[in-house]
């Protein structure tokens, strides 16, 4: 049942959010050179939640950084929503990213000087909204995420789960088509982790959207539609979660 890492065999009918073709990435040079990605082929479908799993140091974070255009690949192509970002001019890539990508980080990365409402509004402000109008939009999202009473609190006044909800609101406020999450439940307990994943699934999913989650947390595998397992800079296995989860648990 396990499929080899041939991207073209995955989700052909749904359209692709991300397509990676033979992506290599190395850091340093000479003897200090470290090859982190060694020929990654992966197609992330729209309308689905895809998990990237694997041991520490296997290249998951580097892969999502390359997918998001935060790092440039040493070799290979990356297409986001049909556009090859490896050939994109830097300024256009930044605009493209601000319109189409949302990020959720392990450390939340909320700005401590801003309230929950202002933090959630940042992604809209980046697009040119005034802070006041951006807050009106982000407040609706915060209400939807159960944060209505905490809008005016600062990050240090919020629990980990609440901070992650603000981070989700920030990632989704500008209505991106791809949401990239890096260990979104790593700083949360099991219950809060499940709540956050459920919220993410409810709010971020849609037929023309994709959610990519990098995680170590096997407790949340059930939220995945597809799982790509990585090892030593390569995709080891990739397939529907109902197939991959038993195999991952065995291994």
């Amino acid at each position: 049942m396990t499929q080899k890492p041939d991207a073209r065999r995955i989700a052909p009918q749904e359209g692709s959010a991300v397509v990676c073709r033979d992506v290599f990435k190395h850091f340093g040079s000479g003897q200090a050179r470290v090859d982190v990605l060694r020929g990654v082929d992966l197609e992330v479908p729209l309308g689905r939640t895809t998990f990237l799993v694997g041991p520490s140091g296997c290249g998951k974070t580097t892969l999502i950084s390359v997918m998001a255009g935060l790092l440039t690949s040493s070799q290979g192509n990356v297409e986001l929503l049909g556009e090859d970002i490896t050939k994109m001019w830097k300024g256009r890539l930044v605009d493209f990213r601000s319109r189409n990508l949302g990020f959720i980080f392990q450390q939340f990365n909320l700005i401590p000087a801003l309230t929950a409402s202002e933090n959630a509004a940042v992604s809209l402000v980046v697009q040119g909204y005034t802070l006041a109008s951006a807050k009106r939009i982000s407040n609706q999202l915060l209400d939807k995420l159960g944060m209505a009473k905490n809008r005016d609190r600062y990050p240090n006044q919020l629990s980990g789960g609440q901070q992650q909800r603000v981070a989700i609101a920030r990632a989704l406020a500008h209505n991106p088509r791809i949401v990239i999450c890096d260990e979104p439940t790593a700083s949360l307990d099991a219950e809060a982790g499940h709540v956050v994943m459920q919220l993410l699934k409810d709010v971020a999913s849609g037929p023309d959207r994709a959610v990519i989650v990098v995680t170590h947390d096997s407790r949340i595998y059930s939220f995945a539609d597809f799982i790509a397992s990585m090892l030593d800079g390569k995709i080891l296995e990739y397939g529907p979660s109902e197939v991959l989860i038993p195999l991952l648990k065995q291994s």
């Binding site: 974070t61 580097t62 999502i64 950084s65 998001a68 935060l70 790092l71 300024g91 930044v94 605009d95 990213r97 601000s98 319109r99 990508l101 949302g102 990020f103 980080f105 392990q106 450390q107 990365n109 700005i111 401590p112 000087a113 801003l114 202002e118 940042v122 992604s123 402000v125 980046v126 697009q127 802070l131 920030r170 890096d182 260990e183 790593a186």
Partner: protein, 379 residues
Amino acid sequence: MLLIALKMLFYDKAKFLGLVLGVAFSTLLINQQMGIFLGLLNRAGAIIADIPEADIWVMDPGVKNLDTIFPLRDTELGRVRGVDGVKWAVPLFKSVATIRTNNGSLESSTLIGIDDASLIGLPQTIVMGDVRDLKRPDAVAIGKDGFSKVWRDEEPALWKTVELNDRRAVVVAIVKDSPKFTSSITFFTRYSQALQYTNNGRNQMSFILAKSDGVKSAEEVAKEIRKRTGLLALTSQAYRDKAIQYVVDNTGIPVSFGTVIALGVIVGISVVALMFNLFVLENLRHFAVLKAIGTRNRRLVCMVFVQSLVVGFVGYSVGLCGAACFFEFAGRNPNFTGFFLPWQIAIISGGVAAGIISLASLLAMRRLLFVDSGLVFRG
């Protein structure tokens, strides 16, 4: 984005205060030290500034400043008066006299002997009294600040007596004079009276004050006096510049003040650069987040620029207010009169503050521009 930048700046109040104080410290030091320095230089030419009626000063060719004086013969006055272009010429005597203050201590004072007939040489502003009373025996006028040094804690009053070189002197007028470089107590009396106070005989004229007739310029008349008499004749401005230049060239004052100002600037740059760098470093992850979610570098630069602008403006304002307060309150002390804060210094210090904050923000921006936005994914 700029509002977000300001919120980030004001959030860490201790750091914001440190940044502001760094700029304020430099601004205060530059203004205060330069103000005192200029005040001291002005003192070097204070007597000249107090006698605006005379536009030419005639003296022995060996005179370099206002304190080292070689007396002129009385006959030189007639020779100067005879030079073409001279409207009038009067003698001026300058010496040092010892006085006894109301608490019994001895103080050094400056004694100025002015023309007996015209009283040219007396400062323009009369605070109290009638200058015609200077014609009385033993009559002197005293500078306002000098009065408060001789009669401490007493309100200015006339007809008070003082021992001037062990001779009786009666204060008949109080004038507003500029503070001098060496002594803040100055007495003005008639030329003939001044000679009695100093027990000097004839040929004791320190300077000859002259006025050009308006047909020829002061420079031309001074040149003519030099040619005809062999004495050194300078316009008021030229003599004032010469006296100031003497202080600059022959005292350690410029080096001393320059060193303090340089240290202020260096400390300011160091503190502000360090703290601003630290501020950006602490917020680097947040700037990286903004970069990752689509903020262009030029907007990040704008954010840092606005932050530095606010720090510079607030710090400069605080420093300038501090310097203004210093001169306002210190000016009430007779020892500090004449020190002031010229607008030119305020502008110069503004430029220095802008330089400090620009340098600090440029160093910080270097980090910002090259921040790896992939940093956001690292734990």
